[in-house]
Every structure is written in C-alpha cells, then in structure tokens.
C-alpha cells in the first residue's frame, strides 16, 4: 500500500480518461447522520435524534447498496468507511448487516480496509468488540483535545480520562487505529500545543489526524465569531507557526504528514481517504453522502439528500436517496484531481492531469516554483513544505 503514497512514480502507461478512476481505486463511504449532541464547531451533516428506527435504516442502507452495486458490478472494493455523525453509536448488528450486504455486492481485496469513526465515550467503547466481529478493522477516534477544559470548550461529552480509556480498549480490539485532534483552539499557545502533541504521539497510534480549528458558518462557533464573541483564536501567522511545529514533531516521531492534516507511520495511511485524494471512484451512501462514479466511461458526481428523515423517506418511497447527479467534464475532473491531489505530499501526476484537461499549467507552476511553493520533478507536481499551509492560495493561482 505504501506505494500509493510514497515515491512519485508516474504510471508507465497512462490510463485513458474513461479509466482514470483506476488510478485511485474504488471505495465505499457510508454516512451515519446522528450524534449524541451537536458540537459547537461542527458543520458535518450530523443531527441529534431521540428515536432512530434501526430496521428502517437497515433496509434503506441495504436498498441503496444494491442500487449502487447494480451500477458498478464486479468492481473490486478497496475500502469501506463509516463516517458521521457518530457511527460508533450504530448498533453493531446494523454495521454487521451492512457489511454482510457489502460482501454480497462487490468482490473485495483481501487487504480491504474497513474504518469506523468513533467517539471516545464509554457508551461506544462497549460496542467495539461488536464492530470488530462485524468486520471493522480500523477505527478513527475523535479525541479532539487532551485537556479537559478545552474539551468542555469544544462541547465534547467525554473527558481526557474517558477518551484514554476508550482508546486503550480500541487498541486492544482493532488492528489499526487513528485519532483526531483539533488544534489552534481559543487561547492555545504554541508551547501548550507542542506539549499536547507530544503526549498524543506517546499514545502510539499508527495514524493521527491533526486539524486546525476551522470556524464554519452556520455553527454555534460561527455565530459567536460573527458577533465578535469568539476570542483568542490565533491569527494566520501564529496558526502557520503551529502548523510547522506540528510537522516537525510528527516527522521526528516517525509519523510524517502525508496529507495537509494527516500523519501516519509508513504504510499506515488511510487507504480510504487516499481514494479521495488520488481521485478514485467512491460510492457515497447515506444522508448527504457524496460519490464519484465512472459509469460507461463517464464520471459523475452524486450527492444524497441531506436531511435524514427525507433521505430515509426517498429511499423507501422512490428507491434512491440521491438528489444530484452531475456529469463531470474532463476539465471538472482535472481540477478535482488537482485540488485533492495536491493535499498529499507525494503530489499529482501531470500526465494524468493532461489526460483530463487541455489547460497548460506551466506558466503558473513556474511562478509558484519561483516563490518556493511547489516543485516539479519527472512529471510530478508537488507542494513544498512551505506551500502546504497556503494550499488554497496555490489552488487559486492554478485555477483558470
């Protein structure tokens, strides 16, 4: 697997546009839209609901799996990802039923990665064994912070102690394990973050997702920020310092950043996310899930109805939860590939880009190279260390 993320090697015979997805492989994303409570920073499609009819949801997921499988017969599945919301609140039997159906729908490689996002409270920890028995072989835990007052400020329902306990159980249960932290929090100093990150590294996960806090519109933090009531956030300069410090510490610990916010021991990269970043095909199932599917040589973008009840209803009544299906032109695909691919340290294959696009990036690449933000080598374009924290600026320059 490490070949996917390591040395920049252009494929010897470039795949045609119709086969382009094979460069990234094929994965399945399953969205579970419910949480125990809504975190103030979060703008994922997550909802708090008193009652969830497991039977109806099981039937809906299964019906959607069959619908999509009929479009993509015979594809070898490389990964499954249960994302949320909080999938660790799913009944393990529901996860088992879904995975059973998945196995019936597609052939799968024997190294298939099956990840489930988990919140680190005791409620979830109790289900870990059930998830493993259902076939889950990797968990990604939302620990978010290693100090209690920040966990409270982030509106989390767990303490550090609880999180560590859940983490220990997970480590004894699953082959592979990752956890998420959010940094650049209110009033967080560089030194405090460095100390916290060292502690996180010492927990010996094989993968870490380290996200800088993003203030999103339409969230509680977003509203507070707009009213000037969210103080103590780092400015761009301090945020950049924190970003570089993060790279340094993880590099030294043998968990180098392989993507903007993701760090892993070699070979432990998230294969599922690598499908997005190397622009493969993926089916998206569940409320608000997105997909990219190449059908009869044409790539489409799909998007499901966001509201959980409406999605459930549509699947039950109309046999499909998708609302949008867009035809993606070669140019569309090229820019999506560029946008996602440059997040990864190994960069993008310019031959592949020009299979999809007629656009000549050379002048902009030369300009950006002169600022030391990107580098080009044997047909591979990658963002330098200095360029990583300003990737959006680079993309704006490259976009036509």
């Amino acid at each position: 697997m490490s070949a996917l993320v390591q040395s920049p090697q252009a494929a010897p015979a470039p795949l045609t546009r119709a086969e382009d997805w094979r460069n990234g492989g094929f994965g399945l994303y399953i969205h579970w839209p419910f949480c125990a409570s809504k975190c103030p920073y979060c703008d994922f499609n997550s909802h708090v609901s008193a009652e969830i009819e497991t039977d109806a949801w099981r039937n809906a997921y299964i019906s959607e799996l069959r619908r999509v499988a009929a479009l993509t017969p015979g594809r070898v599945l490389n990964s499954v990802f249960f994302g949320g919301g909080t999938p660790s609140l799913m009944d393990p039997e529901l996860v088992a039923a879904i995975l059973e159906e998945v196995r019936a729908c597609w052939p799968q490689g024997n190294d298939i990665e099956i990840t489930l996002e988990a919140n680190p409270t005791s409620v979830e920890a109790g289900r870990f064994r059930g998830f493993r028995d259902a076939g889950v072989n990797r968990v990604s835990m939302g620990i978010q912070a290693l100090n209690d007052s920040d966990l409270r400020a982030l509106g989390r329902l767990h303490s550090v102690e609880e999180a560590r306990h859940a983490f220990d159980i997970a480590r004894n249960t699953f082959e592979r394990i990752s956890f998420d932290l959010i940094y650049a929090r209110q009033d967080q100093t560089l030194a405090a973050w460095q100390a916290e990150l060292r502690e996180a590294i010492s927990m010996a996960a094989d993968h870490l997702s380290l996200y800088q806090l993003t203030i999103e519109q339409g969230t509680a933090f977003g509203d507070r920020y707009a009213r000037g009531r969210l103080k103590g956030l780092p400015d761009d300069d301090r945020a950049a310092d924190m970003y570089f410090a993060t790279q340094e510490l993880t590099d030294a610990a043998g968990l180098p950043g392989y993507e903007t916010s993701n760090h892993a021991a070699p070979g432990e990269e998230s294969r599922h996310n690598m499908i997005y970043w190397s622009y493969g095909d993926y089916a998206g199932i569940g409320p608000g899930a997105h997909g990219r599917l190449t059908l009869d040589g044409q790539r489409y973008g799909t998007e499901a109805i966001r509201a959980p009840a409406a999605w459930l209803n549509a699947v039950t009544e109309k046999d499909s939860g998708d609302v949008v299906k867009t035809t993606l032109s070669g140019e569309d695909q090229a820019w999506e590939y560029l946008m996602m691919g440059l997040r990864v340290t190994r960069g993008i294959d310019l031959t592949r880009f020009s299979t999809l696009s007629n656009h000549d990036l050379t002048p902009k690449i030369n300009e950006l190279t002169s600022y030391g933000l990107v580098e080009k080598q044997s047909g591979i374009l990658r963002v330098t260390k200095a360029g990583q924290p300003v990737l959006n600026g680079i993309l704006r320059e490259l976009l036509p």
């Binding site: 994922f44 800088q212 761009d236 997005y276 999506e336 990583q388 924290p389 300003v390 993309l395």
Partner: protein, 599 residues
C-alpha cells in the same frame, strides 16, 4: 391666472438635519396636498440615496394651497434645500427663485455653520427671513436661549420666531400664517414679455428633460414656442405643470409662479441653470442676471474594475450627467487602469453619491483614484497649467512654482473641544484668521489648503468634537506653496492612481501613513510585497507586506469536493474584482481609504 397678492414663494434653509424636510412634510400634510395614505417621512427626498442616508441632496419644490385665516386662499411654492456644504450651490440658486426663507434652527443644537452660511445667501438674495425654532418636543430644547443666540450671532430679530415641532406638528399652523402674513408677495407684470428663470433641470425617464422655471414677468401657456436666451435654441412646450409634488398639468403660468416645462429638449446640457426663457416671438431682449455656475473642486478618476465595462460606464456617466449638471467628466487613460473618466465634484460627499449611484443604479464596480484638487502649475515659460490629476505632473525642470487652492473655513464648536479643533486645523496647515465667542461656543475661521480638507477633514472634525462642531467653507483663491508629487510603488511598480500632491514638510509623514494603510488594505499574496512612497526617485517611506502564511482547508468532508471547489471559485472571482498592478491585486476600496488620515 393667480393674483400676485395670493402667492408666496419661499425656501426652507437650515444646517444639516435641523428638520427642513420634516417641516416640508408637515406643510404638505396640513394643507392636504398629498393624501394621508400616500404620505411618508421626508417625502420630497425621493432619490434612493437620499432616503438611505437620510439627507437631502437635491433641492425640491412643491406647490401647496393654503386657505388662510384672512379668508383668502394662497398658493405657496416651497423649496426644500439640502443642508450639506457640498450642495450649497443648490441652496444659493434656489434662493433666487423665491422672495423669502424659513430659517429652521434646531432648538437643541442652535446656530451651526450652515445656518450662518445659508442666512448669508438669504440676505444676499434680499429675502424676508422667518426664524423657526424646531424640535421643541425634545426635553433638551432651549428655544429661548437659541433665540438669543440667533440675535447675537446672526444679528436678525428672533422675537417673533415660530416655535414648532416638525415631528409632532406642534406650531406648524403658525408657520403657515407667518408665511402668508410676514413674507412678501412676488411682483411682476403679466403683460410684459416673458422672462422665466431656469432654476433647475433634470432627466425623467418618461418625459425626457424637465425644466423648472420661476416666472418673473409675462405668462406662458402650453403650446407656446419658447427660446433659451443663452443658447438661442427654441422649442415648443409639450407640457406645462406644477409639482404637487407629482406633476399636475396646468394651462398657464403667470408672474410669481413656479412650474415645470417639457419640450423636445434632448439633453440636460442644452439647458443652462440660471438662463432666461422667453417666447420665440416678441420675446424679452434683456435676460435676467444669471447664476454663477457651480464649480467642481474635487477631481478623481473613475475606472471600471473590469476593463470590459468601459462602454457601460460611459453610458452610465452620460445618463447621470443628464441629472446633475454640477458634475463634470472627461475621458482619461491610465497606464495601469486603462480607460476611464476624470470627474469633477462639488465635494467628497458629492463624489461618494455619484460613485454610489453608478455602482448601484448601473451595476458597475468602480475604482476611484485618489481625489485631487486643481493645482496651478506655473511653468518657467510663463504658461500656467491647471493640474487635475497628479499623474499628469510635468517634469519639474520646466516648473517654476505651484499654487494650491485655499479655502476660508468657518467652524462653530463648543468651548471644550476648541483645543482639538485648533490642533486639527494647525496640523492641516491652516492659518487662523479669526476666533470669536458666542456664549459657550467658539467660532473659528481658518485659511486652509483645500487639499487638506477634501479627503477626511469633516470626518476628523466630527470625531474629535464628538459630532458637536459644524463646518462650512468658501473658496478663497490660490496661493504658492512647497508642493511635491508623491508616488506610491507597490512591488516596485508605481501605481498612478495613488499619486498625490503633498506639502514637502508633510510628505514623509503622509508617505509613512499611506504605506502603513496600504499594508492593511492589500491582502497578502503568495509572495512578499514591498510598498514604498517616493518623491522623484527618492523613497521616503517603506513597508513590507509579508507573504500569505496560512490558508488551507484543514479537513475534508467524506469526499465532498464540490463544496471546496465552489469556495475556491468564489474566492477566485473575488480576486478578479480587484485590479491587477503588475503581479499585485489591489482592492478597489484601497484607493480612497489609503488617503484617510487618523492623525
């Protein structure tokens, strides 16, 4: 035709916000000119921009009928005028069309700078003046004290001032009676050759050019053929009307009356405010004394952000100019900005109003270059050149000396803020001419360079005096001074649109301030950008805008790339709204903001 003795014409004048338009509302309402259900506050302020900013920009006239206590019904023509100093021209010419003025004074504020300025216009026009003390509904009002102040400061009798609240209507009937009993009726001979004063003209999208006139002598009827005495052009009258305030057709207008005419006039420019209109046949031979034309004092370049919109801009400016004769323009080209227009305005508010209207009514994004006044450049050859744009400054070796326009500024300010005001004027290279007291308020008169006042003097004055000072000015002529052209270089490239003329002694401070401001105003780029101010080839100030350090999307949403793509595309569009100078994008707002001083 209406008997002269039953006509009264008057203007309502006051300092900004003292309640002129509100009083006009009450007069219109009390006389039933507008049906109750159609009434709205400041009904005469009909332009969007007037309603939004809550100020009057254009003088407006309305005809009302008033059955007085003496049993007679009178025709009253009122003209509501703007209070802001930029539009003083509207006031002075309105005065010429009427015989009297209601001088409105806010009884909580008292006499302010424009109160004085406007009284002088009224006195100059030989008006009978009725003082009106407004806002007596407010607990803070002090009508007695303000009456004394009027007598002390202005020197007119205020013993019979009418005390009112334009807001509640209290006392307004007394205003109507005072108009009839205290203001003179107009004079004029209905049988003499026609002499109609062209008071105003504007463009109406349905009717074309509309001309407002005050008949001095003679009569005019629909269908008459008329002649503009200045241009000699003749027209047949299509429509004759009075404003109530909607146009209401009328068959004939006689002496003392105010009304509007439409004819097949193509452009507002074909009508000269102050011109005399007479009949084509058996017309008058001697015109009425004309008005001094309005002089633009502030100039700036207007360029479309998107160069492709130049033709749209041209069309929009042409249309706007139809409505506003005091705004001048001519085509301009700039190395960095391409094609645009150099426009002249009566002041900065006027500039903002025109720019707003262009952007809003015609949907064109504009770059406004640094505003400038007109400098006189005396060349070694003895020739004198008017410099409207610092970018056109000739080679200094050919220049003997420069002169700049100066103004006489009158500022009224409560004692406690006097020190701040004197400091502000001093900082702006002012020379004190006079300082007197009226009660607890000082009246200071300063000789100031116009270019120090144009950008932000008024804002600064308001802020250092917490809004308690008022300000008025008049042009005084030109004087020599040590002026230099300061250039701004962004990423080593001169940006013409940011060139300004400054006094040599102040150049360094100004340069430093502009560089600092620009550093704030220009967004960070992918590379670091030096920002410099220079005189000739010499750099006098420098700042460095560091390169962008952090802009990346931290997390991805389970394969949702559409959203991120949309965001980047939107940001990219935003970038395109900025103008490119070399490799640097400068937002349009930077050009004026960079000049505002925080002292």
């Amino acid at each position: 035709m209406i008997k002269l003795s039953n006509i009264r014409n008057f203007s309502i004048v006051a300092h900004i916000d003292h309640g002129k338009s509100t009083l006009a509302d009450r007069l219109i309402q009390l006389t039933g000119t507008v049906a109750e259900r159609d009434m709205q506050a400041q009904i005469l302020d009909s332009m969007d921009i007037e309603r939004e900013r809550g100020i009057t920009i254009k003088a407006n006239s309305v005809r009302i009928e008033y059955p007085a206590k003496d049993g007679e019904t009178y025709i009253l023509n009122l003209i509501d005028t703007p209070g802001h100093v930029d539009f003083a021209y509207e006031v002075s010419r309105s005065m010429r069309a009427v015989e009297g003025s209601l001088l409105v004074v806010d009884a909580t504020q008292g006499v302010e700078a424009q109160t004085l300025a406007n009284v002088y216009y009224a006195i100059e026009a030989d008006h009978e003046i009725v003082p009106v003390l407004n806002k007596i509904d407010l607990p803070a009002s002090e009508p007695e004290r303000i009456c004394e102040q009027i007598e002390d400061v202005i020197g007119i009798d205020a013993s019979e001032a009418v005390h009112i609240s334009a807001k509640t209507g209290l006392g307004v009937p007394d205003v109507l009676e005072a108009i009839v009993t205290r203001l003179p009726a107009p004079t004029g001979d209905p049988d003499a050759p026609l002499k109609a004063m062209l008071v105003d003209s504007w463009y109406d999208s349905y009717l074309g050019v509309v001309v407002m006139v005050r008949i001095m002598d003679g009569t005019v009827r629909r269908g008459d053929r008329i002649k503009m005495m200045q241009t000699g052009a003749t027209y047949g009258i299509d429509k004759l009307a009075v404003l109530k305030p909607q146009m209401t057709d009328i068959d004939v207008l006689g002496p003392g009356e105010i009304g509007v005419i439409t004819a097949s006039i193509k452009q507002v420019r074909d009508t000269r405010v102050g011109d005399t209109i007479t009949t084509e046949k058996r017309g008058a031979t001697v015109p009425l004394p004309g008005f001094k034309p309005a002089q633009p004092v502030v100039f700036c370049g207007l360029f479309p952000v998107d160069a492709a919109e130049f033709e749209d801009l041209r069309a929009a400016i042409d249309k706007l100019a139809l409505n506003d004769a005091s705004f001048s323009f001519e085509m301009e080209t700039s190395a960095a900005l391409g094609f645009g227009f150099r426009c002249g305005f009566l002041g900065l508010l006027h500039l903002e109003v025109i720019r707003d209207r262009l952007e809003r009514e015609y949907d064109i994004d504009l770059i406004t270059t640094a505003p400038s006044v007109i400098y006189h450049i005396h060349m070694r050859s003895g020739e004198m050149i008017e410099l409207h744009n610092p970018a056109d400054m000739p080679d200094l070796t050919y220049v003997d000396h420069l002169e700049e326009p100066r103004i006489k500024a009158t500022i009224l300010v409560p004692d406690e803020y006097l020190g701040d005001v004197l400091k502000l004027c001093q900082d702006r290279r002012g020379i004190q001419m006079d300082l007197t007291y009226a009660g607890a308020r000082a009246m200071v008169v300063y000789d100031l360079p116009l270019n120090e006042v144009v950008f932000d003097f008024y804002d600064r004055l308001k802020s250092v005096t917490k809004g308690y000072a008022s300000f008025d000015y008049q042009m005084m002529g030109y004087r020599e001074d040590a002026l230099v052209k300061m250039q701004v270089l962004v990423n080593e490239e001169p940006v013409d649109a940011l060139s300004t003329m400054v006094h040599r002694d102040r150049a360094e401070a100004r340069g430093r301030m502009m560089c600092e401001k620009l550093k704030e105003l220009i967004p960070r780029h992918m590379f670091k950008i030096p920002i410099q101010a220079a005189i000739g080839g010499r750099v006098i100030a420098r700042e460095t805008l560091s390169a962008m350090r952090k802009d990346v999307t931290a997390k991805c949403y389970g394969g949702d790339m559409t959203r991120k793509k949309k965001l980047l595309e939107k940001q990219k569009k935003g970038k395109k709204k900025m103008r490119q100078f070399g490799k640097v994008e400068i937002p349009q707002s930077a050009f004026i903001s960079a000049l505002k001083m925080d002292d």
